[in-house]
């Protein structure tokens, strides 16, 4: 479901995906103060991965319908099983 969530955001704001280093980057042999920053960057979200911060998400149908009705807009409804913080 994370893939879906992420790709929908990207699709709505951007027309191309740029998977940079994380997909090809090899891990350092060990974590040292010299490799610290590189490992930190790898574990961080890239700019494309934080686009969802910009969306004003509603978490229930009632709130979404009320705003959509008042603003005359369609509702993009993402229904997921589980929790975005976990495996589903």
């Amino acid at each position: 479901m994370k893939k879906l969530f992420h790709s929908l955001i990207i699709a709505s704001i951007s027309t191309s995906i740029s998977f940079a280093d994380p997909l090809t980057e090899a891990p350092p042999k060990e974590l040292t103060w010299k490799t610290y920053d590189a490992v930190s960057r790898h574990a961080s979200q890239g700019s494309q991965e934080t686009l969802y911060f910009k969306v004003d998400w509603k978490n229930n149908v009632l709130a979404a319908q009320r705003e959509a009705y008042q603003e005359d807009k369609p509702i993009v409804m993402i229904l997921f099983f589980g929790d975005h913080r976990s495996n589903c």
Partner: protein, 315 residues
């Protein structure tokens, strides 16, 4: 597009389906049921574009497991165009839901005491052979979580003597919440305390003034589980640095970085692909910047895996 042309909703279909019959009889659930009655599976996980009147415009086909961004984009744009072509009555209908229609109880916004150490956690694997976008360990995905330590617990990460050069060990138990709640790996695993074979961390004061103490951390962890629910191991190292304000008794900056090998002995068909059991994982824990869309979101394992006395402190 999601902000300017639509109202965006992210919610759980399962939670709606598990509501009581009394709550399902209310307007909110009935609106959802009506909106998705022409969907492939009714109220079911997926992405839908619906009108405020409760008409399904489109069930988005987005590609599984490889998301087709162009296709999603095109479907979203077409759905918005279709919406604008409808009559006002078709778009809006004549029902504006009110509080009396509420089916889904309002989720409490959790607010831990300001004295707590609130961390935001991101984790990403490195490339591995046979990596596939179906697999939750794929480096295209970042696991996001929160990790909370109470006002008392966080003091375990501050040396009792804050003079420059002081080297102290962190009590291994202080690291349990981080290790048992899978903050150093992608996904969630059913770790128990007995699975922690080694949890060592030392902290060193590298500079110290009355206003700020700079602390460096170095940790080593080994975990191994062979239970019915978890056949995994983790071996990793952690480095970190933090700034502690002794008068306010608060961290003003905090960053822990880890790098380790996570091995899953029994891969799961709904989460993994291929035969690669061991992947290298990087993890990051920083002071929670409190992003607007993450306000009120608790750690994934809250409250179950947090001590009762901590749960009592959170309103």
């Amino acid at each position: 597009m999601l902000n300017s042309d639509c109202v965006s909703l992210a919610s759980s279909d399962v939670t709606y389906k598990n509501l009581s019959d009394t709550l399902k009889a209310k307007g909110e659930y009935q609106f959802l049921k009506k909106s998705l009655s022409k969907g492939k599976h009714g109220i079911h996980q997926g992405v839908y574009i619906v009108t405020p009147s409760g008409k399904l415009i489109k069930q988005i086909s987005w590609g599984w497991p490889l998301p087709d961004v162009d296709k999603i984009n095109a479907q979203l744009k077409q759905s918005i165009t279709d919406y604008k072509m409808m009559s006002r009555a078709e778009r809006l209908g004549d029902v504006l839901l009110t509080e009396e229609d509420r089916s889904m109880p309002v989720e409490p916004i959790l607010s831990p005491p300001t004295t707590w150490l609130q961390l935001r956690n991101t984790t990403r694997s490195y490339r591995f052979s046979e990596m596939n976008l179906f697999d939750i360990r794929h480096p295209a995905f970042v696991t996001v979580d929160k990790l909370w330590f109470s006002g008392q617990e966080k003091l375990q990460f501050v040396p009792s003597n804050t003079a420059k050069g002081t080297l102290e060990k962190v009590a291994p138990k202080a690291l349990n919440t981080m290790l048992l709640n899978s903050h150093l790996i992608t996904g969630r695993s059913a770790w128990w305390a007995e699975h922690i074979q080694k949890a060592e961390m030392e902290m060193k004061v590298v500079s110290s003034t009355s206003k700020q103490v700079i602390i460096y951390y170095r940790g080593t962890f080994n975990m191994h589980a062979d239970s019915k629910w978890c056949k995994e191991s983790y071996a990793g190292k952690l480095l970190g640095k933090a700034a502690w304000n002794p008068s306010r008794k608060q961290f003003t900056s905090f960053e822990w970085i880890s790098l380790g090998e996570h091995e899953i002995d029994k891969l799961k068909p709904n989460m993994h692909r291929g035969n690669t059991k061991s992947v290298t994982v990087a993890s990051k824990l920083v002071l929670d910047p409190q992003h607007q869309c993450e306000q009120g979101i608790a750690p994934a394992n809250w409250p179950d895996n947090y001590a009762r006395e901590l749960r009592a402190e959170v309103k």
